[in-house]
Amino acid sequence: MRLSLHIPEPTSRPGDPHDFARLEIPPAGAIPQPRNDVSPADIRDLAFSLVRVLDEADQAVGPWDPKLKPEVLRRGLRAMLLTRAFDERMFMAQRQRKTSFYVKCTGEEAIACAQALVLDRADMCFTTYRQQGILITRGYPLIEMINQIYNNARDPLKGHQLPILYSARNYGFFSLSGNLGTQYSQAVGWAMASAYNGGDLIASAWTGEGATATGDFHHALTFAAVYRAPVILNIVNNQWAISSFDGIAGGEAATFAARGVGYGLPALRVDGNDFLAVYSASRWAAERARSNLGATVIEFVTYRGEGHSTSDDPSKYRPIDSARHWPLGDPIERLKQHLIAIDAWSKAQHEALTAEVTQEVRVASNAADAIGTLGTSRPPLTAMFEDVFGEPDARLARQRHALGL
């Protein structure tokens, strides 16, 4: 027999009908919830299933229902709406050349926002550029985010870093690298340090499914398993890494949650567009970590609603409007319908809240505009020479002097 090389290809390309048949969707409530001190060996099947709470009638059902009070759900809804409004505004700002670059998280809001509500605010999150929902849920000032995005005179990062690669230590938000995968294993080290110190904080590590292919991802799982680090190892499977579908990262052969199984880590696979399922799985993993039982891998299955970034055009490689056909729906719409179904929300309230968060973003955006946008305002040039080392460096002093500063 002659050999042939297999190159994975998605089931649909531009012009093709939408095809998500590969995604198996069990009914909501069908997956059992183990105690969180369970042996990972006893729950391997959870890495191949899909935890879902919200059913077709918008009711919360089954053992993973976190049974949250309506006010918590409304907080989550508000955080998601605010995140989406912020994304819309910043996308437009990029189109208006107020910044060079922006990344939206449209369709993935539930994942960051729900987990942020579960975590302690000092639990350190090592995110990718698509978890702005964590900062927003934790109440980080929107204007600070925009000042950073504009690299203006009030940029908290002094113009040192690309737009959206925030750092907010006091909000448990680790400096974003922009390199993929590298911070996943650092999160494990941070968690090891918390355990070493006998503290009670945990770390939350984030990657997309694409960067699970990096060595850093596997370093992270090895170290997390070996040292039982108190960390949640989140994988946001939004199906796309720029133009590469999840099969290029190995998604045809196994789930991404299944990566954890070989390391002896508990691994959950969760409907990432189901706010209640995300909350519940995150809480399960956080409690397990805080009980000194170590790390949990969670794959959140979702769909990247828009392009990879403002520099991307997804119509070049996937069917137009594919997000609208995604079988797990939209996370904001689903939580809204659930709140309405339990008589804790109304369409009128929803419209009012949408207007409120849009106005909140507009106020912050206008205030940042008044300070200045990319190229019209920036930190003092002397800031360029700061923070290379903690102590003064003779070379930098000479180089700064040569610029006349």
Binding site: M124, F126, P156, L157, K158, H160, Q161, L165, S167, A168, R169, F174, S175, S177, N179, T182, Q183, S185, Q186, A187, V188, G189, W190, A191, M192, A193, S194, Y196, N197, A203, G215, D216, H218, H219, A220, T222, F223, V226, A383, E386, D387, V388, F389, G390, E391, D393, A394, R395
Partner: protein, 336 residues
């Protein structure tokens, strides 16, 4: 107190484990066993497994975990078993450790020490002999340190652990157990008989950015670091010239003042390193000499370095710098 370089490094780690509960050590085989070169011997037994433990064979993972720990507030000291194995961690060092302070505008920083034995002369071939200092000295945000004797090794390692920024600490493994001077056909001298083998048992530091004048001289300046300090010294003594020998101790930060003062005085300079020639740290030193001393130079500066090839196993003593090639270099700068 007489100490070999291994014992001096061990003492530095012991002192810092005792002094600061945030200091911890991990790396391959460093725990119960004490490391393949014995630098961490006894530390786990004395300070507990939590303070000194074994790590998986994943240099990128070791350094990444240490970056996370350092950002948390600990002071990890990790061992890479051979500097040859540090490359899987290069991305973490260059793209992450070196830049975290800058990109976060000072919100996070990385008080991390990466120890790694480097250099040849042990018949280690390609995977146990390399000298990778230049690829670290080139990176903004890293400090690169190479001691040449037990006293400096301890004092510099303590300074490295106290430093708030990432430090690449390269240990000349050929000097671990004696001041090897490149004359491989002779018996290895003992650190016990060497003045720098007299090491205080307690806490002290040797500051970064201060080169040592190992031997004062008037005819020419020889710049060296690590093992080559001893090889150069042997070459100078054999050459009959009155050379000033400078041990750089730290490549970043570099003591350009001491280099400039010496070369302005002597007007001649030979630069020595084990690492391969092209884009080696000697190229930077040559530029420093040219920028600071051009009008004082009597002759072109000479670089005596490793050849531009992978480290060859069967030709150890033709490849490794011995006094002979350094003497040739000295003669060339003295011939004009």
């Amino acid at each position: 107190m007489a100490m070999s370089m291994v014992q001096a490094l061990n003492s530095a780690l012991d002192v810092m484990l005792e002094r600061d509960p945030n200091v911890l050590i991990f790396g391959q085989d460093v725990g119960y066993f004490g490391g393949v070169f014995r630098v961490t011997e006894g530390l786990q037994h004395k300070h507990g497994i939590r303070r000194c433990f074994d790590a998986p064979i994943a240099e990128g993972g070791i350094v990444a975990a240490a970056i996370g720990m350092a950002a948390y507030g600990l002071r990890p000291v990790v061992e890479i078993q051979f500097a040859d194995y540090i490359l899987p961690a290069y991305d973490q060092l260059v793209s992450e450790a070196a830049r975290l302070r800058y990109r976060s505008a000072g919100e996070f920083w990385v008080p991390l020490v990466v120890r790694a034995p480097y250099g040849g002369g042990i018949f280690g071939g390609q995977t146990h002999s390399q000298s990778p200092e230049a690829i670290f000295a080139h990176v903004a945000g890293l400090k690169t340190v190479i001691p040449s004797n037990p006293y400096d090794a301890k004092g510099l390692l303590i300074s490295a652990i106290l430093d708030e920024d990432p430090v690449i600490f390269l240990e000349p493994k050929r000097l671990y157990n004696g001041p090897f001077d490149g004359r491989h056909d002779r018996a290895l001298a003992s650190w016990a008989q060497h003045p720098t083998g007299d090491v205080p048992p307690g806490f002290y530091t040797v500051p970064f950015g201060k080169a040592a004048i190992v031997r004062a001289g008037a005819d020419l300046t020889v710049l060296a670091y690590g093992t080559m300090v001893h090889v150069a010294r042997a070459a100078i003594e054999e050459s009959g010239f009155d050379a000033e020998l400078i041990d750089l101790r730290t490549l970043v930060p570099l003591d350009t003042d001491t280099i400039a003062a010496s070369v302005r005085k002597t007007g001649r300079c030979v630069i020595v390193h084990e690492a391969t020639h092209t884009c080696g740290f000697g190229a930077e030193l040559l530029a420093v000499v040219e920028e600071a001393c051009f009008y004082h130079l009597h002759t072109p500066t000479e670089r005596v370095t490793g050849f531009d090839m992978p480290y060859p196993h069967a030709f150890e003593w033709e490849y490794f710098l011995t006094p002979r090639r350094i003497i040739d270099g000295i003669k060339r700068v003295m011939s004009v």
